[in-house]
Amino acid sequence: MLKAIITTSFASLLALGNASLAQDYPSRPVHFVVGFGAGGPDTTARILAAQLATQTGKRFVVENKPGSSGIIGAEFVAKAAPDGYTLLVTTASLASLPSLQTKLPFDVQKSFKPISQIVASEASFLLVYPQLPVKNLVELMAYAKDPKNRVLYGSTGIGTGSHLRMALFAKANNVPMQHVPFKSPGEAAVSLIGGETHTLFMTTTQALPLIKSGKARAVAYDYPTRADFMPDILTMKEAGSAPTDLDSGWHGMMGPAAMPEPVVKWLETEIRKAIATPEVRERLTNLGLIPVGGTGEEFGTVLAAAVKGMGDAARAAGIQPR
């Protein structure tokens, strides 16, 4: 009983402290936790941190807590003090975790407060090995459906965007294909251009050098409209298949669920300002990312949609959560 009283009074003291702290937030360095090593969301976090520091004069530190597909970093933030000094910069892969893992140490939607979607995902090209006797998407599907042929598709790992996208495509069009997972986009790409695997969904920036040099043939662009830098490549719909509509590449910021509203608002505004600067926009666009900088509410909607979409995709891919 006594323990309970002490705990509650301590907790309420902390809450009071939080409320007063929110006025002069941030009074000490803000930590952006990234559940991965260098590259990807880490780069986004560092671009953002550098701009926020310039624009507000405060300190923003990027901290890597890699491991277990980002679970370790996300868990750290979910259980951190909700004072706005420990925040998570994550990728859309977080939304796939509930359909891959049964025992997550947090709830993707309930343990976090969405703050802002930093960038949206770039679209993917559907690539084929140039010596495969198919010129377009319809021919690819016909080729794969022919029992004489065995079509292999590469991916950057189980449950990653490139895997789920192809699984959705294969299921929607009833195309039998064999999945061959790799550990990195580089290995999957080498396997495709060497003809070891036959087809691969690859994000725009990674696919462009391969398409331009003729090492891979693009049969479709997985987006509602054609890419203005490659107007000859048909969209999935034009080429004869439904688009996968998988939103698997955004980066966003969230904090512990109980964060005070003024802190969330402060971050939301500053992030929007940071992402609107031409330098940041240019850097992100060059990396193939689409700058967003929306509100926490908007990000919450994107997150909920991603959890559902990735769940459907994981089931289409036949992944059993463990």
């Binding site: 260098a38 590259g39 370790i72 891959l100 003809g195 050098p209 463990r322």
Partner: protein, 508 residues
């Protein structure tokens, strides 16, 4: 414009004061990264990234590249001085580099490492400048069956790294293979032998495992013997390699460079396979293989050359195809892309300043590393002469910080402590730790590629024999097994006893 004009132009770019300065900063940081355990190239890249926003893209890639090859260059230092490999390819340097240091020849070992790195680096750079596109195409012949066959050959070669009996070596390698299976299986996504902990999801971390098995076991052993009191005396003339040393190291350096450069083009292997293969090759062809593991200078020169040559030829997939050979190159590509430069086949024609400037800066950086590392040898030697009771707590502390710094978690220090206990028992039982860690690194590559090859072939195991390159490596593996087994039989008839078993494998 011919290649030579391009190279001259590259030097004009690289020799501008800004680029020269960033090259120097990169090489210096790389040296620090290579020496300190736990701080790796990727972490350093991430920290330097915001700085690259502000500078010219050529300067940015010159600096980041400097960190990368600088770290490779100085990687051998801790292996030689402390028996502590900071990266997988450093393991091989421990085998002979550390015994050399214990014999008071640390200076010779460090200088040999620096010189063979320099030589291999220069050759690697020439290969990038002249043969990159052709090599990139050739690397596509290597697919899952070929990687499998190379790993099998390498694993069978693991017996050369120890003078212990065959059964002992085999047992240690099996333990390593088992430990290598810990972590998430990439083909099914199933977590294996993690006992429900998230920490083991990606397997054992190399730094903490190697720290426990090599550096910590060494400390425990030295403290447990009178040896701890004995100071290593290094004579001044031992600071530099003597003429016989240079002669002995010359050909191994050339062979190591060739092997490393070839293996470095393949994006699926990494520097460990290169340096380890070079070591195995040297000890197979040596006149007196029993010297290996006891301070043979070839055992430092060859793997060090292979490691550095492969570090440079690793650039080829990125520069010619726009495909990164590993996470370090993804980051390098990202740094360029942020400036609006797309690495790939067009980089040579669209951004000749950057491409040839980078090539020239690599050569300058290599020279800087040599100039930087040779005088440092004197400093390292002084460190060795300090009484051991003062050094070992410092090594312990630094290594623990290193283990922690990889993932910022205490778990990895606990792993190192546990591995120390196991490693100590193994050492007492006269079991060599080398094959354990070699099998632990090679095992996952072997498994991944073998299963991938079977998946692609639809379960047809003859794929390994139908493809000429993989068949060749498998044949070589069989030949290697025959050379082990046959002399054992012959000798055990003539002169039975444990001696013959130990020596048999090395007699050819």
């Amino acid at each position: 414009m011919g290649v030579f004009d391009n190279i001259l132009h590259g030097f004009a770019v690289a020799l501008t004061p800004t680029n020269l300065m960033f090259c120097w900063i990169g090489a210096l940081l790389g040296t620090v990264v290579g020496v300190l355990p736990g701080i790796n190239v990727l972490t350093t890249f991430a920290i330097l990234l915001p700085l690259t926003f502000k500078i010219d893209p050529t300067a940015a890639i010159v600096m980041l590249s400097g960190v990368y090859y600088g770290a490779h260059h100085s990687l051998s230092t801790t292996s030689i001085m402390l028996n502590m490999p900071g990266e997988p390819s450093g393991v091989v340097i421990c085998f002979d580099g550390y015994p050399m240091a214990r014999q008071g020849r640390a200076g010779a070992a460090l200088a040999t490492a620096a010189l063979s790195s320099f030589f291999a680096g220069c050759v690697g750079i020439v290969i990038i400048a002249f043969f990159a596109p052709a090599l990139a195409d050739a690397s596509l012949w290597f697919q899952a069956p070929e990687y499998t066959a190379v790993c099998i050959l390498a694993l069978i070669g693991a017996s050369v790294v120890t003078s212990k009996s065959k059964i002992n070596t085999l047992g240690m390698a099996v333990i390593g293979l088992i430990l290598g299976t810990v972590g998430t299986d990439i083909h099914t996504g199933v977590a294996r032998f993690t006992f429900g902990t998230l920490e083991l999801d990606e397997g054992f971390d190399f730094v903490s495992f190697a720290a426990g098995l090599f550096a910590f076991v060494e400390i425990a052993f030295r403290l447990g013997s009178y040896d701890a009191q004995v100071q290593i005396k290094t004579k001044l003339r031992d600071l530099i390699p003597r003429w016989p040393d240079i002669k002995a190291a010359a050909m191994p350096t050339v062979r190591g460079t060739a092997l490393g450069a070839a293996l470095g083009v393949l994006p699926g292997t990494g520097p460990f396979v290169a340096s380890y293969s070079a070591y195995a090759l040297e000890s197979r062809i040596a006149k007196d293989p029993s010297r290996f593991g006891k301070g043979a200078i070839e055992g430092v020169a060859a793997p060090e050359a292979a490691n550095n040559a492969s570090a440079f030829t690793h650039y080829i997939p990125m520069l010619t195809l726009g495909i990164p050979a590993g996470a370090v190159f993804s980051m390098l590509m990202g740094a360029l892309m942020m400036h609006g430069i797309q690495p790939g086949p067009e980089i040579m024609t669209k951004h000749p300043d950057l491409f040839w400037g980078l090539i020239a800066s690599m050569w300058l950086g290599n020279l800087m590393l040599l100039v930087l590392n040779l005088p440092l040898i004197g400093v390292w030697i002084k460190l060795l002469e300090t009484p051991y009771r003062f050094i070992y707590p410092a090594i312990l502390l630094l290594t623990c910080i290193g283990c922690y710094a990889v993932h910022f978690r205490v778990f990895d220090i606990q792993v190192a402590a546990f591995v120390l206990l196991v490693g100590y028992v193994l050492e007492k039982l006269d079991c060599a730790p080398g094959p354990v860690i070699i099998a632990m690194i090679l095992g996952p590559i072997l498994e991944e590629n073998m299963r991938r090859a079977m998946l692609i072939s639809g379960g047809d195991a003859t794929v390994f024999l139908r493809r000429p390159i993989s068949a060749f490596f498998l044949l070589l593996s069989v030949a290697l097994i025959v050379t082990y087994v046959v002399p054992t039989f012959r000798r055990s008839k003539k002169k039975p006893g444990p001696e013959s078993l130990v020596e048999a494998g090395h007699a050819e």
